[in-house]
Amino acid sequence: MNRRLACGLTDDPLTDLTHLTLAEARDALKARKVSSRELTQAHLDAMERARLLNAYIAETPDKALAMAAASDERLAKGEGGPLEGLPIGVKDLYATEGVHTQACSHILDKFRPTYESTVTAHLWRDGAVMLGKLNMDEFAMGSSNETSYYGPVASPWLPPNWSEEKARAALKGDKRGLLVPGGSSGGSAAAVAAHLCLAATASDTGGSIRQPAAFTGTVGIKPTYGRCSRYGMVAFASSLDQAGPIARTVRDAAIMLGSMAGPDPKDSTCFNGPAPDYEAAVGRSVKGRVIGVPKEYRLDGMNPEIETLWAQGVEWLRDAGARIVDISLPNTRHALPAYYIVAPAEASSNLARYDGVRYGLREPGKDIVELYEKTRAAGFGPEVRRRVMIGTYVLSAGYYDAYYVRAQKIRTLIKRDFERAFADGVDAILTPATPSAAFGIGEKGSADPVEMYLNDVFTVTVNMAGLPGLAAPAGLTEQGLPLGLQLIGRPFDEETLFSLGEAIEQAAGRMKLPEPWWACGAVAAVGDRGHNANRSEDFDDGAG
């Protein structure tokens, strides 16, 4: 029996609406070949069949269909914004008015914002349709989506040498051995790769957009610090956090970022100028552009497959007319340790707001201090607790200069390395996105937290220097898992990254994403929500 038919899908890509790219769906809506309601319903159906992947932690079908109906009315009148009628997913980090917003932490138990984040407000202004809230590492602290209060997300990519039956059985159990989608934006990456939305919002503090994009064969961009407003994003490390999209093509990512970016009086660190037309940069020639290849990213004992992929990327860009130069970024190796001082320090300060008084979880105590201590012990998971404690320590009296101030000085050195390269005429820098392909759920970091931190070795420098970074799928490992390349750009020059990213996409060929092996197994489980004890109470619709 044809498995795809059994899942309610057909072999005709035109009738499987979830397989359109964002740009194709936009054009089909404009041409009235399909309605937003049909497009949205197709995604809601796919989400229902994929619940065991645990990508969405709250689905908002009522809201989605109401937004789709409004979009169809506007489209019928020949009106509508650049994203009119296009269904997308939203990382649980973004405040969405009246809808589940917890950054996948227990400490924000039952939190329903009375306001909307600027980035999501921009998307709704432009006509996008919200499908639901996406799983993530708790407060975006993690590289595998395993620290979420709502449990891990399973990647839609099958582990090497696993049968679909074995994977479906694991999906119904504790998911161990299935692949992580990366993190912290693991729900976003998995949902995009599994065709459970056309694109998704994500966020990146040390690699949280680019690493999951690389692990799932999708495209992710962290724009320049200040390109998108942080208003209404649950804060992790304020000098590093930045919003960005995950999508299936470079063009789709450009369309999403064009809507998400832009000035905002509510965020004083947000760049006060309009976002350029990023989509116009897709397909622009890269002839004569100068690409730097930093020797410090060639790590000792580097995975040979990553090295081969990197060399291949260099060749592709050379073939597209770019000029390749060797560069040196001598402070690269200090970036990850410095990050693990700066980020926890800022996190310990930001997370001081969770006190059990104004919102979220509250554990009773005999006095106010006991209320704070019990609430925070019950509400924070182990990784968040660890980082808050490290941050508290490095900011405490007597250690502030030795740790925090020193790390911020090293950050200046890291930024200077990049400035020197750009001053020498480099337009963008090409590196691997991750040191390996995706690993298994339960495989890393249980004994030593630093083992997990090493995932961010190639991405974290970009946050430390505030630069834009794009991860594009570039190939598969011998075992068939996706790998990505990273492009790093000058401040506010995301356009060059989109041009170069598309050149890589053209050369590598569009990533063939996995068939829905998870879908049939999940059908029987729909309605059975007991598999996840932490599942949001109002799974149907957060609007209340």
């Binding site: 009375t114 104004r358 009773p364 201090v369 012990a377 404690m389 508290t392 030795a402 020193r406 090293i410």
Partner: protein, 95 residues
Amino acid sequence: MSVDQATVRRIARLARIAVKNEELPHLQGEINAILSFVEELGAVDVEGVEPMTSVIPMKLPMRPDVVTDGEIEQKVLANAPLAEDDFFLVPKVIE
């Protein structure tokens, strides 16, 4: 640099996170693993280097000093675990 268990207890107190005695050795091990990972930074020459204060140089915007919102008590209290009238409720703080 490494921390002893008394220091772990003091950090937990400063962070306002209740930690049980039996959790201390485990937390101590994790914190020391991270501190040893960042230890190499002590050897970096940062003489004369300014600490970073703003990753992208930009002038902080100013706006007129006027009231732009308010009268939204119900919105402010909407997510409070315990509230009465227009107030958050907490255990008695002053004897």
